[in-house]
């Protein structure tokens, strides 16, 4: 065990060591939290409640879709966050691969972002299926948008599996970095699938090439509010997750050093 991991004296115990003593630790007192992250978490929580109220109660029904439009306020933000997460994964992977110091922090942000992206991509597929069941009468169709989205989801599940293959942290960072740079190329294919092929899925409601926005004011506000809240939620989750990954890496490093020391002792 290396110096940094020696048993801490009672004076040196982490501030939140009460977590191990209390059966129900406070949800806001976590080892990966800081004052800034807690502030962000409170904003996200408040925003999530507001979004739910807007989506389920305050906004009106759509002329064509009726109340089904209420699913859009979470479906579109989940898709946006998934895209964003995979783009962040690609950018931070490139920063690791081509950075001078090959900082593992970039690799951990890439891993954390991909993990959160997979969660949101899965939720995008689920909420989309619920919408499809009401609108199309079926949960699933092998439609270009649905199929390419499912393919993107499976690709990043594969990316996460590759991260867990073993080897050193730098080996993990290199092989997963290359995959992240290739996988991100699927995003334009998914996004433009509704234009490239005949699709059941509707085309973009807000980001139309003509620049026209044909949505009611409160509906548009709720949609954009959802995108902002989910983006902040993504930031908060990645912030915490990459710190958890840093703790896991530090434990791995400590375990490796302890094994090497044990081997040295055996030889001597």
């Amino acid at each position: 065990m290396r110096d940094g991991q020696k048993q801490l004296s009672s004076d040196e115990k982490p501030k939140n060591h009460m977590n191990r003593l209390h059966p129900f630790p406070s949800p806001v007192d976590t080892p990966t939290g800081t004052r800034a992250s807690r502030g962000l978490g409170i904003v996200v929580l408040f925003g999530t409640v507001m979004l739910t109220l807007l989506g389920l109660f305050f906004t009106g029904e759509d002329v064509v879709q009726g109340s089904t439009v209420r699913l859009m306020y979470i479906h579109v933000p989940t898709a946006w966050v998934a895209y964003l997460a995979f783009i962040v994964t690609a950018i931070t992977s490139a920063m690791y691969l081509w950075g001078k110091q090959h900082s593992l922090t970039f690799d951990r942000i890439a891993g954390a972002s991909a993990e959160v992206g997979v969660i949101f991509m899965g939720l995008c597929l689920v909420t989309g299926s619920l919408w499809g069941r009401i609108t199309w009468g079926t949960y699933w169709q092998w439609d270009p948008r649905l199929t390419t989205t499912a393919f993107l989801f499976v690709t990043y599940v594969g990316y996460l599996a590759v991260r867990d293959l073993g080897g050193s942290h730098h080996q993990r960072a290199k092989r997963s970095g290359v995959i992240a740079l290739l996988a991100v190329l699927e995003i334009p294919l998914v996004h433009f699938s509704v234009v490239l092929w005949r699709s059941l899925h509707q085309e973009a409601s807000v980001l139309q090439p003509s620049g026209d926005v044909t949505m009611d004011g409160l509906m548009l506000f709720s949609l954009l509010f959802g995108v902002v809240v989910f983006t902040l939620l993504f930031t908060w989750m990645v912030l915490h997750r990459q710190r958890v990954l840093a703790l896991a890496d530090a434990i791995d490093d400590g375990g490796l050093e302890a094994a090497l020391q044990e081997r040295r002792n055996e030889v001597n």
Partner: protein, 44 residues
């Protein structure tokens, strides 16, 4: 509101899934925290 179960279900699934992931993440953090020195937590 029509199709209440589908619509409310969509919201519930979304927030429960995110909540479950966050809880799992915090549990891991607490588990790892006891084995790691403060010097390995530059954010603190």
């Amino acid at each position: 509101m029509d199709h209440v179960s589908f619509i409310v279900g969509g919201y519930v699934i979304t927030f429960v899934a995110v909540g479950a992931y966050v809880l799992r993440m915090f549990r891991q953090a607490r588990k790892f925290n006891s084995a790691i020195a403060e010097s390995d937590k530059p954010w603190r």
